[in-house]
């Protein structure tokens, strides 16, 4: 069953769906970090919205590997994650910094099938 899609990312460009972990590995309304090759990807189980999101784990503000441990929430309806270090916030859809600063993060499409979470990689 295909349950949810990250609405904005172009799943059509996905060349490979990486099987990350079981749904139960991800806390409700929170995130966890997945290792894909040499990359760290933060995956969020946004239960309240019944949506899944993924983005790079590194916060671009001070290059900390941490975003998976950030709080999720929304800003005027836009789903976002807040970095635990200095509370910079990023849209989970576009990756844009929501504090008006110039850096942004990479986001990835996510799908859930048969109880497993997959991250869409486009190479």
């Amino acid at each position: 069953m295909l349950s949810t899609q990250n609405p904005d990312t172009r799943s059509s460009e996905v060349t490979y769906w990486f099987k990350a972990a079981e749904v139960s590995a991800f806390p409700e309304d929170g995130g966890a970090c997945v290792k894909y090759q040499d990359q760290q990807i933060a995956v969020f189980n946004f239960t309240r919205r019944n949506e899944w999101y993924a983005c790079q784990n590194m916060c671009p503000h001070k290059q900390q590997m941490i975003l998976a441990r950030g709080l999720v929430g929304d800003q005027c309806g836009e789903p976002k994650v807040a970095c635990p270090f200095h509370k910079k916030t990023f849209s989970l859809i576009t990756g844009e910094n929501l504090n008006g600063e110039c850096y942004e993060i990479q986001t990835y499409p996510v799908k859930v099938e048969d109880g497993f979470v997959y991250i869409g990689i486009s190479e």
Partner: protein, 836 residues
């Protein structure tokens, strides 16, 4: 003469600093599309950035965040931006400029916004390694690279910029000296007495001040080691920052044959035209009316003037007020209007408090009607109001001393009434030139409801930020005027204050964040409301916080303090600072086994740093088995109750301060509160436990205990106030129960007890009525609620260690047991520290 749209007018701007950028911003905002073709040359490698807040770079603000507008902004507005390119020549006759790369560009109008450079006096040895100026991001990078090799820094220059540089040096961990040639600090802004007060304050912060010192040589090879002075004295330093003033960059203008002032600066008229009417100079390079304005607001006004005239409007630059407020140094200093004017041209009122280090002076006109200027040191909260009073020629109250002492009738109305009493055309934001009328109208018309949207809509408060508090006052006053209730709400998701949410939680028996937001909020929550609600739930129901791990701040989610590099620190409770040799050994063994960095803290316990998230449960298992429990160093909760050795060992001790400290620490351990809580117990008035700097402090007397409350250390230290005297142990605990519970129930999130009390109407007298006299009739409830918290306490770490499900959450990756490969350490003084 207006240009025809077919031939856009060619504008060349030399210098992409704050003012050069502001010129572009204003021009594209006012010009018809296609009317101008703008080319900008900047010598620095990056687009214009906020030099005013340069020092924030030291505290983690990035170059990007300081940027005024990204390169893409220039592209979007069709501005041709050449960075890292120095203009080397102007041919005014043929209207062509040349750059160091050989590029030639023709112009119709040329704008010189070349700013200034640091003035470096010709002292022997200024060229040595370790001597810096403080002007660009590159200067700061160079300092940051050099500072680890240095221990002692000196700043030449005790003016506005010099003191900012001194603060930066101190923040880099250096012993800091300020060398000033004049007989006082900030000679252009302060009088003798003001300077003296500031000097004392700075010295108490650890900065050494040397006045009347003229530097004769800088010695050392290759790096600076020593300075010598005209009076024969010397000072050993290994880093030097020169901040002795600014030198307008007029070298291009000189070469091009434009008129410059005898001491530098490009001469301009009221339209900012140089001696060539098609060439303009704005910002710090311009010399107007004999003045170089070393501030950003006049520069912005110059940019506005030139733009207005270019697009066919009319405006002249008529000089500018030089009022300033020093930011960052940890001491408020401000000077406004004419700070020095005195008898017989004015009457002066001075207030001085040598204990608190406050000096205030206001100069009133002969007829007692107008405020002409003044000086504020140590406290400058009403700087903005006073400045407005000068600029708008507002009639001062009959008791003019109220201006600096506040109206002492105890009403808190006056501040709000102050903003309202300003005329509509009063300039609130002088950087952006925004008037009170513009702000109030946009609040009404655009239905603005917070300061952030006022900034966005009107640009007020976006430069130096000095007027932001007034924006808040204006917002509140305007909303009130419109009949809207002004409410302290938590965030966009809850239209309630923390106190109201606490009541909702209690009355409706709400146990989870989800339940609360679904029924009483909107949206999905955020990083502000989630931890605030988590704290409320914890201090109401006292359930294990990990039941709702994902609404906790990361520290609470992993029950440890996150540190640079993403590792955590481990802090077991050592109540009252008392520990057995056996337990000390356990800490040593655990730290050695897991390779943790150890440090004794200010709270009389031991921090172990550098634990990976996956190691935390194993480390705690060993600690719990040895009888330790969580120290809650990660939570907004009770940290420590510090104690001196007390009557057991100390020959001065009156009572057993250690025993009492332990009793209190164990009573309130784990108690979640709006912010962290610290306590202290001293066995006599010598006060070795520093109890008067804590949220609650207890000092033994002949007859019992004196209770002090609402103090704190930290960035804004405040002494605790004496609340009750000569209490017996039981009464002391009862008052503490009530006080802490009342604080937990009524404070806004992240307000320490000191801030809470400062905001409380009626202050400590009111608090005494509530806590001691039970004026609200709530004391029995407060005590019962505290008793519940004490009875239901359980060590969080013990529960995690014994719960395999919870333990599983302590892993970096969910798809592999590997630890985070990006964590790295290097050795330092025999221990490990993170590599960043």
């Amino acid at each position: 003469m207006s240009s025809s749209p077919a031939h856009p007018q060619r504008i060349v701007v030399i210098g992409n600093g704050m003012v050069g950028y502001k010129f572009c911003e204003k021009l594209v905002a006012k010009a018809q599309p296609g009317a101008y073709q703008i080319t900008v040359f900047g010598e620095e490698p990056r687009p214009a950035y906020d030099r005013v807040h340069l020092s924030a770079y030291f505290s983690g603000t990035t170059a990007e965040e300081l940027t005024m507008a990204p390169v893409s902004w220039y592209e979007e507005h069709n501005i041709n931006l050449h960075l890292g390119e120095l203009v080397t020549g102007i041919n005014a006759a043929s209207k062509i400029i040349t750059t160091h790369k050989g590029l030639e560009v023709s112009y119709d109008k040329l704008i010189l916004a070349t700013g200034s450079s640091a003035f470096v006096p010709p002292i022997n040895g200024v060229e040595k390694e370790g001597v810096f100026v403080y002007r660009t991001i590159e200067d700061l990078d160079a300092m940051l690279a050099y500072a680890p090799k240095a221990r002692t820094a000196a700043v030449i220059g005790g003016g506005l910029l010099g003191l900012e540089a001194a603060k930066a040096a101190m923040d880099m961990g250096l012993t800091t000296h300020v060398i000033e040639f004049a007989s006082r600090l900030m000679p252009r802004q302060l009088d003798e007495a003001g300077s003296e007060t500031l000097k004392k304050k700075l010295e108490s912060l650890g900065i050494s001040i040397h006045l009347n010192k003229s530097t004769t040589a800088i010695l050392g090879d290759p790096g600076v080691r020593k300075m010598t002075f005209a009076d024969g004295s010397e000072l050993n330093v290994d880093m030097l920052i020169v901040s002795a003033g600014i030198k307008p960059r007029d070298e291009l203008a000189v070469k091009a044959g434009l008129s410059v002032g005898p001491r530098g600066g490009i001469l301009v008229n009221d339209a900012l035209q140089t001696s060539d009417p098609d060439i303009f100079a704005i910002g710090e390079s311009a010399l107007h009316g004999g003045m170089i304005y070393g501030l950003v607001a006049p520069g912005y006004d110059m940019a506005e003037t030139v733009v207005t005239n270019l697009v066919g409007g009319e405006k002249t630059f008529k000089g500018f007020d030089m009022s300033t407020k020093l930011k960052l140094i940890g001491v408020d200093v401000a000077s406004f209007g004419d700070p020095f004017i005195s008898e017989p041209n004015a009457r002066t009122i001075v207030f001085e408090d040598r204990i608190k280090g406050i000096y205030k002076r206001v100069n009133i006109s002969e007829d007692g009607k107008y405020l002409l200027g003044g000086i504020l040191v140590g406290e400058a909260a009403n700087y903005n109001m006073l400045l407005q009073t000068v600029q708008n020629r507002i009639i001062v109250p009959p008791d003019a001393e109220d201006l600096i002492l506040g109206s002492r009738g105890g009403s808190s109305e006056s501040a709000g009434a102050g903003v309202l009493s300003l005329p509509e055309e009063a300039t609130i934001c002088s950087c952006e030139g925004v008037s009170k009328g513009t702000i109030c109208n946009s609040i009404k018309d655009e239905k603005l409801c917070d300061v952030a949207s006022i900034k966005k809509c009107t640009k007020a408060g976006t430069s130096c930020g000095g007027c932001v508090p007034m924006l808040g006052d204006l917002l509140n006053a305007t909303l009130k005027e419109m009949g809207q209730e002004v409410k302290q709400v938590l965030c966009e998701h809850f239209q309630y204050s923390r106190h109201e949410i606490l009541d909702i939680v209690k009355v409706n028996n709400i146990r989870t964040f989800d339940e609360l937001i679904s029924h009483h909020g909107k949206g999905d929550g955020c990083e502000v409301c989630k931890p605030a609600v988590a704290s409320i739930l914890a201090s109401t129901w006292n359930e294990l916080i990990l039941k709702q791990a994902t609404i906790q701040d990361t520290n609470d989610r992993y029950l440890a303090n996150i540190q640079k590099g993403g590792t955590y620190s481990v802090v077991p409770r050592i109540a009252g600072g008392e520990i057995t040799p056996e337990k000390l050994i356990v800490i040593g063994q655990v730290a050695a086994k897991y390779g943790l960095y150890t440090k004794i803290t200010g709270g009389q316990r031991i921090d172990m740093f550098g634990a990976r998230v996956d190691q935390l449960p194993d480390i705690w298992e060993e600690l719990v088995n040895a009888g330790f429990e969580s120290g809650h160093a990660y939570g907004k909760s009770l940290r420590t109750v510090k104690s001196c050795v007390g009557s057991t060992w100390c020959r001065y001790g009156l009572h057993d301060s250690v025993g009492f400290a332990i009793q209190i620490e164990e009573r309130y351990r784990g108690l979640r509160s709006p912010h962290k809580l610290k306590g202290g117990v001293s066995g006599c008035v010598r006060e070795c436990a520093e109890a008067q700097s804590k949220d609650f402090g207890i000092i033994a007397t002949e007859k019992g205990w004196n209770l002090y409350i609402c103090g704190n250390g930290g960035a804004k230290p405040q002494h605790a106030q004496l609340f009750a005297t000569d209490l017996d142990t039981e009464t002391c605990l009862r008052y503490l129960d009530r006080f802490l519970m009342f604080y937990i129930k009524t404070a806004e999130p992240l307000n320490r007890t000191a801030t809470w009390l400062n905001k409380m109407e009626g202050g400590i007298d009111y608090l005494r009525q509530v806590i001691i006299e039970d004026s609200l009739g709530i004391c029995a409830d407060l005590e019962r609620e505290m008793e519940f918290m004490v009875d239901t306490y359980a060590c969080e770490w013990k529960e995690v260690v014994n719960n395999p499900e919870l333990r599983k959450r302590f892993q970096h990756f969910v798809n592999t047991p590997e630890p985070d490969p990006s964590i790295n350490f290097r050795p330092e003084r025999g221990q490990k520290v993170p590599v960043i």
